[in-house]
């Protein structure tokens, strides 16, 4: 099967609602980014007769987001290649063929009423299964002021807007030292901006990476010329300045709010599912309190039995694919009168690029209570390869590489996989 980019308009009208049957269910997927597209692909493969509607709020064909804080925004800032060429390169290669799904872009799902999706254009979509893949949106600071120079970064249009302000010599204040904030800071440095990060915690990326590695990453930013203000918050915006809680006023030509995210779940209000943080799902991706609604991707709050029974949302790029396959398995099994196989224990992984260095994580470093450097030296971050093991109560839960060679990381991954599977069966 040739992979192709998913860019077809709504083509498929083939007997969409005319028949019902156990193996040709009507499936509506709300959200047409990575999670929605991967779910549609997995469903198409498992249930060739399923009638799938894929609804996306953005007008662009589905695209890949991680480069938006890295090389894509760098390209957009330089003007070469063109916006169109950069988007073209980001478009998701998809296994779907034109006609495989009824793709409706540029309209949001507004609500679920009587088992039907109601779309922003007034259309209603009847479905036997509803899959929530609506993802996240950036959190904003509540303070007013300086609106004309405040930016967020989540989608391609956000990146285009922000890129227009990335000019050498400009002063950028990044509010929030999480991964997105740190990646934008790094890219802006490369483009010759003067960058300050304001982070309320004592280290950037602290909860994700733990004290020692987060401190090393903070040092990397400082050594590359970023002014990193930790333990500080924004008090207000005044005369275009960012005023911090200790009274310091940062002059900034461009302000990036990188404060984390809010799940796009308002459209599910009133459906009875648990929306306390994303959508609570069981190990089949079925929403708690529902029999025919599932959630995938960034908004799914699930337990990963590889680590424990606590339900968490996981904002890693791999999660859309992993939860999409699981959701498709569930729907195909139940549609064919089988029980889905038990257990869901995907291996988490994420990566980041900062100041020319790759950070690669496998497992769940945020759960660890200790970090042990097993290769290299954290004082050499960005200069020489480093590998760090993360353990919880003495059990290996993650391996993180900082500028590490991919072949050595792959070996540690295999060891981590074994160790965490043992934890699961213990």
């Amino acid at each position: 099967m040739t992979q192709r980019q998913l860019r077809m308009p709504a083509l498929s009208k083939r007997s969409l609602w005319s028949e019902t049957g156990m193996t040709s269910p009507r499936i509506a997927i709300a959200g047409a980014s990575l999670a929605g597209v991967r779910t549609a692909e997995a469903l198409r493969a498992a249930l060739p007769n399923a009638r799938i509607v894929l609804v996306g709020e953005e007008r662009h064909a589905p695209y890949n987001r991680p480069p938006l804080s890295k090389d894509a925004i760098e390209g957009l800032a330089s003007g070469h290649p063109s916006q169109e060429q950069i988007l073209e390169k980001l478009l998701l290669r998809s296994k779907l063929s034109p006609g495989d799904v009824d793709l409706r872009l540029g309209r949001a799902v507004v609500s679920v009423e009587s088992g039907q999706l109601r779309l922003a254009d007034g259309a209603r979509v009847s479905a036997d299964w509803i899959i929530a893949a609506t993802g996240l949106r950036p959190r904003h600071l509540p303070q007013k002021g300086a609106e004309e120079r405040r930016y967020v970064l989540r989608g391609f249009d956000d990146a285009c807007r922000l890129a227009g302000r990335l000019r050498a010599g400009s002063r950028m204040a990044v509010i929030g030292g999480g991964f997105i904030g740190c990646e934008i800071a790094s890219t802006a440095c490369k483009l010759g901006l003067h960058v300050t990060i304001v982070e309320p915690e004592p280290q950037p990326m602290l909860h994700a990476l733990g004290t020692r590695v987060a401190a090393a990453m903070g040092n990397l930013h400082r050594r590359r010329g970023v002014r990193l203000l930790t333990g500080r918050r924004v008090h207000s915006f005044s005369n275009g300045n960012v005023v911090l809680d200790d009274g310091e006023a940062l002059e900034a030509d461009v302000i990036v709010e990188a404060l984390g995210t809010v799940p796009n779940t308002e459209w599910l209000t009133g459906t009875g599912v648990d929306l306390s943080d994303g959508v609570l799902v069981d190990d089949r991706m079925i929403a708690a309190g529902s029999s025919n609604m599932l959630a995938v991707g960034d908004i799914a709050r699930f337990a990963n039995l590889r680590f424990d029974a606590t339900c968490r949302r996981v904002e890693h790029w791999c999660v859309p694919g992993q939860t999409a396959r699981r959701a498709a398995e569930t729907i195909s099994a139940l549609s064919e009168g089988r029980s889905p196989s038990g257990g869901f224990a995907p291996m988490p992984s994420f990566w980041s690029e900062q100041h020319g260095m790759r950070l690669q994580s496998f497992g769940a470093p945020a759960l660890a209570d200790t970090q042990t450097v097993i290769e290299g030296d954290l004082s050499q971050v960005g200069e020489a390869p480093i590998i760090v093991e993360y353990a919880r109560r003495g059990e290996l839960v993650a391996v993180v590489g900082l500028g590490a060679r991919p072949n050595s990381l792959a070996r540690h991954h295999a060891r981590l996989d074994k160790a965490t599977i043992q934890t699961m069966s213990a």
């Binding site: 099967m1 991967r38 998701l92 790029w317 791999c318 992984s349 060679r405 991919p406 990381l409 991954h413």
Partner: protein, 61 residues
């Protein structure tokens, strides 16, 4: 089944090596190696590797 990798796009994240270790590997110098025509029985792994590639550098035919 044929596997193609766009080495201009590949940034050596190594996700494919993890998703499909019987098809993809790194040699001692850290270069990506892969079987260009693996057994059809490995198709699920191959497609999982293509899906897992952050650079969309893997094409399965």
């Amino acid at each position: 089944m044929k596997i193609k990798v766009d080495l201009d796009a590949c940034l050596q994240h190594g996700q494919c090596v993890i998703a499909a270790p019987e098809i993809f590997s790194f040699d001692d110098d850290g270069n990506l190696q892969w079987k260009a025509a693996p057994d059809e029985a490995l198709r699920d792994d191959a497609e999982a590797a293509a899906d897992a590639c952050p650079e969309q550098a893997i094409i399965v035919e």
